[in-house]
Symmetry: C2
Subunit: 206 residues, 2 copies
Amino acid sequence: MLDIWTLRVLVEVADQGSFSGAASKLSMTQPAVSRQIAGMERRVGVSLFRRVPRGVHLTTAGEVAVGQAREILARMQALEARLGSFTDLETGHLRLSAFPSANTSFMPDAIRRMNEAYPGVTQSLVRIEPGEALSAIRDGTVDLGLVTAWELHPNLVAAKYSPPAWTIRSRPSKAWSSFRCWTKNCWSVCRPGIDSRISPGSDCAS
Amino acid sequence: MLDIWTLRVLVEVADQGSFSGAASKLSMTQPAVSRQIAGMERRVGVSLFRRVPRGVHLTTAGEVAVGQAREILARMQALEARLGSFTDLETGHLRLSAFPSANTSFMPDAIRRMNEAYPGVTQSLVRIEPGEALSAIRDGTVDLGLVTAWELHPNLVAAKYSPPAWTIRSRPSKAWSSFRCWTKNCWSVCRPGIDSRISPGSDCAS
DNA sequence: AACGCTTACGTGAGTCGTAATAATC
DNA sequence: GATTATTACGACTCACGTAAGCGTT
């Protein structure tokens, strides 16, 4: 059985036309993409890309694979969205945390928008020591936190310099289910079940 | 992004109605299945199964998930089959190996059927030391080998006692792309690209 | 020299199996 | 007591990032 993440890498390489471009988009390194594609080609026994001087080109088998991969990825996203709709935000309490400067900039507006969207949900702003936000989410101390890009992943700091910079990395770790870009340096990380119901405001780059 | 293997476990649990039953079918242990489902429930934030005394029952969210998972799995299988058709067995050479008793029982008939199906492909029977078959396939020394169940995976020995015993385990390791049951104790393991083009004869249980 | 893909190697995350525990019939 | 799900723990596999190598423009 092939892997979903492998398909994600496959279509990104096809879209970008090069391994390095796809790596940048996916917040990975070139060698990682190279290995992913090489591994998939070895498993299916067919060459999917023809390596050309300026990047890669799809082979006939690659065209077929990319087409089917797009459908599978779309269905997987639909499944996740459908399951996400089962978690009700009708009532309950949400524990938020943010780093100091975000507490005075993004947080007030985000809380205001949340109150409008989900009137039944109360929030509390939890104070978290710097560098402890991710572990607090993993441990269940808070439900959603705003963290700096470097705190989320060192690689994002490097990735942000090459446009398009603030794409959502599609392969979250087991510890958090999803994260989302507010600005180049400010990302939101959610506990499973919350996901992307709290979106950045219009004043954030997207 | 959810994992394909997780979906495979999900539908198997739904079909069997219990974690232990699914574990047996998938050649896994009970705790492994339990962790897989628990992890998926944590990621999507919804409970997929209701634990009842005699096993588990699907929740409403679980019903939706299983339905979509079936479609995704079917499309993934279709993709692999489609890509497999690109590897031509029109010409070439196939290096086979088997353990001693299989050399005199299954192999002669299998080679005869291969000659009929793929007249352009020549074969050679490679002598492999006992216990070296899997590593030989991984290293590329041979293309297809018949191995004993215990050699393939210790767990299969335990699994074979509970019918239906000889189902194809759907989660091959990175080293080999697929394997297939000929009898309870005899399995074929293929190098990537060959896959299941060489099928067991009618004299084998299936 | 610059750009892009590949390979080698050490490291960290994730999953498995075994064993022990709890709960239900 | 038998069956089933969960938790703890050690071991192993896999994928990543860093660094070095190779070919093309």
